[in-house]
Subunit: 407 residues, 2 copies
């Protein structure tokens, strides 16, 4: 039997409030033997400690053993979707990260400005890493000159340095396509081709990309050093079952950074804009408490400092969140999960495969009788080690949203 | 999406050295309440203890909950292959155990000498458990008289007591066949038949086995008490993806006993011969350090003493390995996993289903802050409880061999 179908069949309406608080990249490693600490262990966290006494803990495998996820698969799993089944292309993630509002069926590509010689050979894939201002200028020019191709709309948005995003919006488009990028210097720009050669939609999309090149290249041909462009990760926004239909939960996203808002929007969550600090995010939750059943609150700084390998700053970010946590608890959610989309250990300075710790608090979570929420504490918890895609189901269960299976 | 395909797609080359140290049958049970010990807990293991301080621990399910594996599935899982997908027939395992060098497509059978009455009825399935010397004599005779059948080669090799192995080598052969063994006395020898009745190759193989009987039985017909033979577990060497291609790791096996060399050879590892003691095995690793990326080092005695139910000897075997461990650590592997293929609890005197403990050490394993590597310690570790087939993927992750999945 299909498990998702079973969950759906058993799902009951709820009046409970559920909060998924994601401390991005929270999980870390103790390096240096028996007396070493992770940032979470080293932090002073009185609010988390108080909550922990009546909570369950565990660790979650973000995707599969040993696999390090990007933010896309990391969050899709937290939203209860199998990240191997629902894959979001790099172009789509990049577009979401730049705050573009994608629609179902949009095809998005990551793009670079590059340098071409007179024969069309790529001599610098990043056009000497041009400044963001020049990139914005070139994107503005391209946007003005290449607005439409046939019945399709073209949306161009600048990113940082030489990077930008191109979105194709129209009927009957589909990715993925191979990259229009030789991936090294000394070669011409290859044509983007359908990965699945039988897809008529992908063929149409490949033709569209070729037309885009024909229209766009002359616009920048005389520019220096950025007289060419490369498209990669050309993919369409996948059809993902809507969160509200799948879980019977009206969901809202309270995030600061565009990518996480974008990922929430992918599954149909409402974006609640405006909050800048975690305290403001929690205030926003209080204000919107009556309007939604499920709140996804995203905190970026644990990941950011982990990426920098800055142990003290990561500990500080944890303490800052802990300091604000009493605001959230003014209207204590019926079910509160605090976790990460993946680990970002300071020693790795990047995402990793290490299972992230999770704390689950509800009237029915029970107490694991652990004094603190930490990686080593989580190793001992009643939730054990499980795949992150099941967390949402555990939250639903704690909200008493599942009928009994069988008699 | 197929997970193995994903792992392959994400796999990067590495300069790291990975070592899988298998203490066969290591896992055991504490019997006798709160103050009882397993052999691993009772052993004095200063070298393991020192390593543990900077390691992760967990427990591994060899195949599936409650399933007791033989050495074949136990090791295939450790080599990262799903033991339910890649099954190695008993005839093949027996042949490997006798040191036969099987080729892809070879069909192997376990064989017994037995006693037949004048009507061809099996009166003793083990021919009174004849001595090994007589078995060797009979095998020698059979080998001389039944070398070929049509276009196929027949290889006969004696084992212990009444046991031997028959290998059929030729084109277009395939198992499995049903046993040419009534499994009890008082019945004639049944014909071996294809398990899959549609396989033409299996039909050819069944015909070959019938011809073998026609040729072999007259050779020993006058012998007493061993005037007949039974073939069981008739199977071909399965096609298994090669280790080096699957993991991008040049792999070597440093084992003493033939079966483990044979299992390593099944997946294409290079056998490094000659070492007899665990100290010599570690010395061999030092000598070959530059020539391979992955070393499978097999230690038999923990299993052997577990099979005998000899607690003290099993503890002694653990201590012997611990005493030699500093040799291995002279060139410390970048990733070191120490574990078992299954548990062999002294009280069971045989393999068991109990998850075996595993220790994983690398610069990125983190410290679980456990003082010793033991079964109860492993229960508290960050690796949790997982299927043994994922260990190799975790080793690859610790060697930083996987690119990020998704953006």
């Amino acid at each position: 039997m299909n498990l998702d179908a079973l969950y759906s069949e058993l799902t009951l309406e709820t009046k409970a409030k559920l909060v998924l608080l994601v401390m991005d990249g929270l999980g870390d490693l103790a390096i240096g033997g028996l007396n070493s600490w992770t940032p979470l262990e080293a932090a002073s966290t009185p609010a988390l400690d108080a909550l922990t006494k009546d909570s369950a803990q565990g660790r979650m495998i973000p995707v599969a053993p040993g696999i390090t996820p990007g933010s896309g698969p990391g969050h899709l799993a937290l939203f209860g979707y199998d990240p191997l089944e629902y894959q979001v292309g790099r172009g789509v993630i990049e577009a979401l990260g730049l705050g573009l509002e994608l629609k179902a069926g949009d095809v998005a590509a990551r793009a670079n400005f590059c340098t071409l010689d007179e024969k069309g050979i790529v001599t610098d894939r990043r056009a000497g890493r041009i400044e963001t201002e020049l990139c914005e200028e070139l994107c503005f020019l391209l946007s003005k000159r290449v607005k439409r191709l046939g019945d399709c709309e073209v949306i161009i948005k600048p990113g940082k340095g030489h990077r930008f995003v191109v979105v194709f919006r129209g009927k009957g488009l589909e990715g993925p396509l191979t990259d229009a990028d030789p991936h090294r210097e000394g070669l011409p720009i290859p044509n983007a081709k359908p990965v699945n050669s039988k897809s008529l939609r992908a063929k149409k999309t490949a033709k569209l990309v070729a037309e885009f090149y024909k229209a766009a290249l002359p616009v920048i041909a005389k520019k220096k050093p950025a007289n060419g462009l490369l498209l990669r990760g050309i993919a369409h926004q996948p059809a993902i079952p809507l969160f509200e239909e799948r879980y019977k939960l009206r969901a809202a996203c309270i995030a600061v950074y565009p990518m996480y808002k974008g990922l929430a929007q992918l599954v149909g969550m409402t974006k609640l804009e405006g909050a800048q600090t975690i305290a403001e995010q929690f205030e926003r939750y209080l204000a919107e408490h009556a309007n939604y059943d499920f709140f996804f609150i995203h905190y970026k700084y644990t990941d950011m400092h982990g990426e920098d390998g800055n142990f003290d700053a990561k500990r500080g970010a944890i303490e800052e969140l802990d300091g604000a946590l009493p605001i959230l608890l003014q209207k204590k959610p019926d079910v509160l999960a605090i976790t990460a989309d993946h680990s970002t250990p300071c020693i790795i300075k990047g995402h990793s495969w290490h299972p992230q710790p999770v704390l689950l608090h509800s009237a029915y979570s029970g107490s694991d009788k652990l004094e603190r929420f930490t990686e080593t504490g989580a190793n001992l918890g009643s939730l054990g080690l499980f795949e992150a895609k099941y967390l949402l189901r555990l939250m639903q269960a704690n909200a008493r949203m599942f009928d009994k299976f069988g008699a």
